[in-house]
Subunit: 340 residues, 2 copies
Amino acid sequence: MNAPDRRPVIRDVARAAGVSVPTVSRVLTGAARVSPEKVERVRAAIEELGFLPSATARALVAKKPKLIAVIAGNTSRFGYAETIRGVEEAARADGYTVSITVVESAEAAEVERAIALVTAQPIAGVVVLKFDPPGVAALEALPSLLPTVAVSGVRARGVPQSVLDEAAAAHELVEYMLDQGHRTVHHVTVPPSRREDGRTTGWRRALTDRGATIPPIIAATWEPESGREIGRRLAEAGDASAVFCGNDEIAMGVIRGLREGGCAVPEEVSVAGFDDHPISAMFSPSLTTVHQDFAGLGNRAYQQLEGVIEGRKIRKFCSERPTLVVRESVAPPPVSKSGA
Amino acid sequence: MNAPDRRPVIRDVARAAGVSVPTVSRVLTGAARVSPEKVERVRAAIEELGFLPSATARALVAKKPKLIAVIAGNTSRFGYAETIRGVEEAARADGYTVSITVVESAEAAEVERAIALVTAQPIAGVVVLKFDPPGVAALEALPSLLPTVAVSGVRARGVPQSVLDEAAAAHELVEYMLDQGHRTVHHVTVPPSRREDGRTTGWRRALTDRGATIPPIIAATWEPESGREIGRRLAEAGDASAVFCGNDEIAMGVIRGLREGGCAVPEEVSVAGFDDHPISAMFSPSLTTVHQDFAGLGNRAYQQLEGVIEGRKIRKFCSERPTLVVRESVAPPPVSKSGA
DNA sequence: TTGAAAGCGCTAACAA
DNA sequence: TTGTTAGCGCTTTCAA
């Protein structure tokens, strides 16, 4: 009469229903026919005990984990959140669940800790968001035996990866700015994944191609507020007529700072962003930027990973070119600064 | 000589190292002393085979899953993403991994599918983001046996929950707007979780308390663009002097729309948001809004869940009051619309 | 249609 | 210090 003080297991159900354990299993999985009356008794017992089959035990038999781990330096910033959304959506459609684990820094101990956490789960494979140093470090430290794909803004050697060709897109954007008549384009970076991000590479190449001088790079953090301070300084210095920012949030901060410093945007200084954040179109001036399909990127990464897990031949690189979005924040320079 | 074409298991390592299976287990876990030479041989075998212990098998023995599921209607919008970040951060500190699964609609079949996905994993408990109808539906459909906590903007009966007291904060915000001299405050909602969100309740109460007329509610989607259209219509109608929006993204859209319709903000129309999105301070005008600590909310939800999992007595409600953030977008009404 | 027996990969208990 | 034996909760043979 005294019920055991633990989660009921299949054995308890079998006993309560007066059948054998495999019979309960059969009604659970529907793998084989069971007589209607026993099905009924088993159902009732399950209901009464509040029985929930152990996912662990099932997984041990099934041998196929249905969990995919996403490792990232961050989960809530626009690009990261959208990429994760893309992975989750695609994975869920195939019956996979996704786990997320954040690696806070590229420091060895932290990376080890994160990987230990990941491998402690029954995972089928992992997607690494290689957008920043923690992501890069995690990718390098991952056991090579695990099915792995990376996601990033630039092609690199190693595991299969889905990439958004940032460099090409940045190149196009900077060319567009130059075409408006600016002599050169300043550049504000968000924290890069390695020495230099694709966005920066594209910017540099575009300037070089046009024979424009290359101004010193200005580094921002991920906080829009840091962009604001940079904007103020830019306004004070007064030598920039066009600024290309590493992402839209920073661009909005820079615009705010420029304005506070007395600089009209885009009349006096043009500012471009990157990513096409949903708010970019609402901002005043609306941002000229580059649209990146992060969710699609996550989706493709999942597809690649699934291929690796299933042992199919897959394309090692899956690249897409983000597209230029022309809005209001970039305009020709004032006459005084025109290069024409 | 022919290596088996499957992931190596502990038995393979034992064989390769010439020791018993438990000895390998001992060096893996460090649970007992093993002679240095055997440790060495085992290490070598592990290295050579690329052996990775099965998390599933370990979990079956350990009996304590270290996975926490987050169920949400969305993962990438500001409040959701930040809440998830908070859960993940706190969970990780305790050695838990978190999984996320999205429920796309409140439709029974979709909810069932999502729950099946969740319970197919070896989870210790679940955090439900009850911010929208899918979240509410998921919470109701969850097996009662699973340790569960909810997170939301308003207290409700049922499982333990962490809440941000939206109603109180919205009340304060609307009072502040009224104090500026507005006769009443219009309200634009984001899709509510039930019949009415706490934000709306607070708004309604504040107006009622002051004897102000209650304008019809205007419903927006989650897209800033929908806010823009509403802003345009508001500008055209010309009867609103103050607008309280369900979140900051919508508020920015509304401001953009009002401007496009020829209405200056805040000179002619005041607009307030909700959430304190990081971009709110960069927007022009910067948004008067309510700061919500979503990450803290997620953190508290995790703590509660951990209490439930460990069988501790916990507080059923864990409520926090978001705080008013006064910036530029709310000002006194133009003389023509003043209630003073 | 059903139950008994075996086994998934690992760790814990027990002997030696 | 080490190996042998059990056993975690389930599914899958294999007989009956």
